[in-house]
């Protein structure tokens, strides 16, 4: 019986104007997205390769002496663009594509009555790049575009905004309309259970929307696949599969919402008014409006306070060490106490800067995480975050990239110490020229950074959003069923 109901409804839907319009719109948007993505991805990956190459060349040039590497570090570390960025862009333009591992080369003077010396800062990781601790309050490095603001049209937009809208369009009159016409009473006069009716309504609406979605997905992925500009691996297909599933789950939420409201009210026009209101608030407004509240809930040091903190801690460290250094460091092996202390100071200072910077960054990110958690009241935001996680773009990916660079920095430091240890002539006080090996380093042995897209990590970031979506779905599913079962049909 359910089969008959689904079939009847499906025929109705497929021959309707709304189906034609939806299919047309989704298809056009998906194709435009695929085509613009191809150009953009080519440019992005080209830029990534070029920058990586340049950065490696500069690293190679620094290999002429180990001290150079110790001083100037690994150079810029690049974030690899995700080939799935056509699913959702995740605001990549607003995030920084690289982390800078370099030194500003500032020196600190040490002197006592009869001697003086200077200690040069060694490298640390800077994110965002060019973000100098001394000028943090003055500038925000940011691309300043004067183009009118726009929302990127990608799968994320099509899903979050259009599919939810379509879900409502197909269901707002599903029950109230039949009740108005009296056909619902007729149908229930037969030996059809209400469960069957509601299941049939849901399934038919679901298939009707799934058809244009799947067509759009297939067309746009084939455009991208056939252009051969992008190489997809097995894991990419898996991610795409997940993304389509998430999109369909999200659409189901709104189908159930439509059925719920439609079964609660008498007239279709009222049902539509209520649904459109819920939709504008829940889908369009909430993700943006709630985000602005994140700043209020969690405070963070102002740039000025932060700068003062940086300056104080560094002065403090300097005073402590410089008081203990009694003579200038000398180039002799084994290292003198002054050399060892100097090297220790330079390293501790780099460590301190790194720790403070990371602390500031994470304080900023915590605000954003809170803002994101708030917006999760809206399934439109949830689906966007799930997409970001699965496609490997946006904030979770950025965090993973930063943690990878931090790991790499550790590895790089260890490499420097190990290399210095293997040089018998070095005084083994890595950090200052007097205490570090000056021999050239084999470039091939230097660890290189390569940004990895790890499916496990990405999925981890998305899992909470997936669960939330399923929860939304279950809540609406149960309430729709209960509402329809208890509905009085007049």
């Amino acid at each position: 019986m359910i089969f008959h109901i689904v079939k009847r409804e499906l025929y109705d839907h497929l021959s309707s104007l709304r189906f034609a319009l939806t299919t047309l719109l989704i298809l056009i948007l998906m194709i435009v997205n695929a085509v613009t993505y191809l150009g953009e991805y080519k440019q992005r990956i080209g830029q990534y390769r070029k920058r990586t190459r340049d950065s490696q060349d500069r690293l190679k040039a620094r290999c002429d002496s180990l001290y150079h590497l110790v001083l100037r570090g690994p150079g810029n570390l690049q974030k690899k663009p995700s080939p799935l960025s056509f699913c959702t862009d995740g605001g990549e333009k607003l995030l920084f594509g690289e982390v800078e591992g370099s030194t500003a080369g500032r020196t600190r003077f040490w002197s006592n009555r009869d001697a003086s010396s200077e200690f040069t800062e060694i490298w640390d990781l800077k994110y965002p790049p060019n973000y100098d601790l001394l000028f943090i309050s003055e500038t925000i490095p940011r691309e300043r575009s004067i183009m009118p603001e726009y929302i990127k049209i990608d799968w994320g937009f099509v899903t979050a905004v259009l599919l939810s809208f379509t879900g409502i369009l197909f269901t707002f009159d599903a029950i109230s309309g039949e009740q108005e016409r009296g056909t619902l009473r007729l149908m229930l006069a037969n030996s059809i259970s209400r469960n069957t009716v509601i299941c049939g309504k849901f399934l038919s609406a679901f298939f009707t929307i799934a058809i244009p979605v799947l067509i759009g997905v297939i067309v746009s992925t084939s455009i991208i696949y056939l252009s051969e500009a992008v190489q997809f691996k097995g894991s990419h297909w898996m991610r795409l599969g997940f993304i389509v599933c998430v999109a369909l789950i999200y659409t189901s939420i709104f189908i159930f919402l439509g059925l719920l409201v439609s079964s609660r009210v008498k007239e279709s026009s009222t049902s539509l008014a209520i649904l459109l209101l819920i939709w504008t608030v829940w889908v369009v407004l909430m993700p943006s409006a709630l985000g602005s509240l994140g700043n209020r809930l969690q405070s963070r040091p102002t740039p000025k306070e932060f700068m003062a903190q940086v300056q104080d801690s560094r002065e403090d460290l300097q005073t402590r060490y410089f008081a203990r250094i009694k003579e200038p460091p000398r180039q002799e092996s084994p290292a003198t106490i002054a050399t060892a202390l100097g090297a220790e100071y330079v390293n501790k200072d780099a460590e301190l800067r790194d720790r403070l910077r990371a602390g500031y960054l994470f304080a900023e990110l915590r605000q954003i995480q809170i803002a994101r958690s708030l917006t999760r009241i809206s399934p439109a935001a949830v689906v966007q975050y799930a997409f970001e996680g699965l496609a490997g773009t946006g904030l979770p990916r950025h965090l993973d990239f930063i943690s990878q660079t931090r790991q790499y920095a550790k590895q790089f430091r260890q490499f420097l110490i190990d290399t210095d240890r293997s040089d018998p002539d070095s005084p083994h006080a890595v950090g200052i020229p007097e205490g570090t090996s000056q021999k050239p380093v084999n470039f091939d042995a230097v660890p290189k950074f390569e940004d990895q897209h790890r499916f496990g990590t990405d999925l981890n970031a998305a899992i909470i959003d997936l669960l939330l979506l399923i929860m939304f779905l279950l809540v609406l599913f149960v309430s729709t069923f209960l509402s329809f079962l208890r509905m009085e049909i007049g």
Partner: protein, 501 residues
Amino acid sequence: MFLVLLKREILAHLITFRFAVTVIACLLLVVITTLIRIDDYEKRLAGYNTARNANREELLSTRTYSFLMPKVDRPPNPLSIFNAGMDNRLGNTLRIYYTNVPVLWDAQTHSSGNTFIDHFYRIDLIFIFQFVLSLLALLFAYDAIAGERETGTMRLTLSNSVRRGSILASKYLGAMTCLILPLIMSFIIALIWIVSTGSIVFSGNDFLRIAGILLTSIIYLSAIYLIGLFFSAWASRTATALMLSLFVWVVLVLVYPSLSVSLIDQLTSPVDSRIFSAEKAIRQTLNTVTKKGQEYLKNNRIEDESGKFNPEENWQLHIGIGDGRIAMRIEFKAYDWYAIHPESEKFIPHVIRYHQFLTPLRFQAAEKIGLLRLPALEQLRFRRARIARNLLRLSPAAMYNLATQAWAGTDLYGVEDFFQTVRQYRRTLVNYFYDKDAFSSRQWFASDKGAIDLDDLPRFVYQRADLWTNASRALPDLQLLLLLNVALFLLTFAIFVRQEI
């Protein structure tokens, strides 16, 4: 008869559920949005005040003329509560050097906010009307004619001696009254809220600007309503009219504005050949000046015991910040020789002559580069922005957004006004240098005889463009919206008059 019809329409709308929904939704959203925007504005204002005070202190501690490089700040626009526009997106703090004619891209942002907060799309009051109220306007329209035709009341009405024109006019006016009601209520509530905070002071002209925004909102809503009415007259069934108008709404309001701008952004290149020729000319000017300076030093060599005395030594401050390609400019050099050894005193006349020779040259070169750089950057960025804006004019929602931005003064031109003022201020600053004979004075580079006196330094004052400028910037979009209204009304009328009921 017309009045009877109009009264009927208004009453019919007022008792509907959708009217209640519209009013409640509008007021609720407006209150929340106003709250968020006021908070944002106050934060930005606090950031501006801190920055301004710091800059003044820094300026007062200047000891030599060459170090005179005042920093100016753009105050946040209080009307950004209505339409945020570009007010917060573009740079708001800028240092003025005598060696550089400043443009928009030299400006930076004082970082009062979170670096990542841009991830959340900012909403403002116009956003609510543009999206929510327009959608509800369609709900008022889709069954206006088609619905009456289906229920048969249209036939009944026409059986009286009523002209079709007055039926259409009464429908339009009736629905518009019911739409304008929540709109005006929203404006009043927002204004009460804003004024009662006390931190935001509107001038008389600001209220006129807000009136302009209100007028534009009414015209926009009317255009969207007429789209719905058009489909209602055209389609044979209510359901069809509803689907078509919702579909058109999705395309015009949601999809098209983003799609057109993103296509322009991705498909057009910001670089073209004219940029390269400008670059070449700039580089040439730069080289000439550098060469002249070197030549002067070579021809007027001063020998002393320790070797060559170089007036450029010590206390150089190299500042090079810029945006991408057209970042080349005259190197800015500032000197503060705060203590001069008595033995070096004999060199001072030479140093004065050197600066007297070179500084005016560098200043002139900076002017010349400014003349090359400004049009090149305009070419580079403004052209694309203009194309995007023109393309946007196919969507009434985008037109509405642009027009209200212009009224509020938060559009691109409104922000550019600030930089215009900065360029003027720089000119007065240079005149001040000439008046003081600063280039050829000892205090250009040395403060050993005391710091310069800054009492009569001209102050930077920025005022937003006057009301008429705002109005004339909003006018093109306003006219287009009006035109759209008239066209849609005539079209609907033509269809409705010829229709068989």
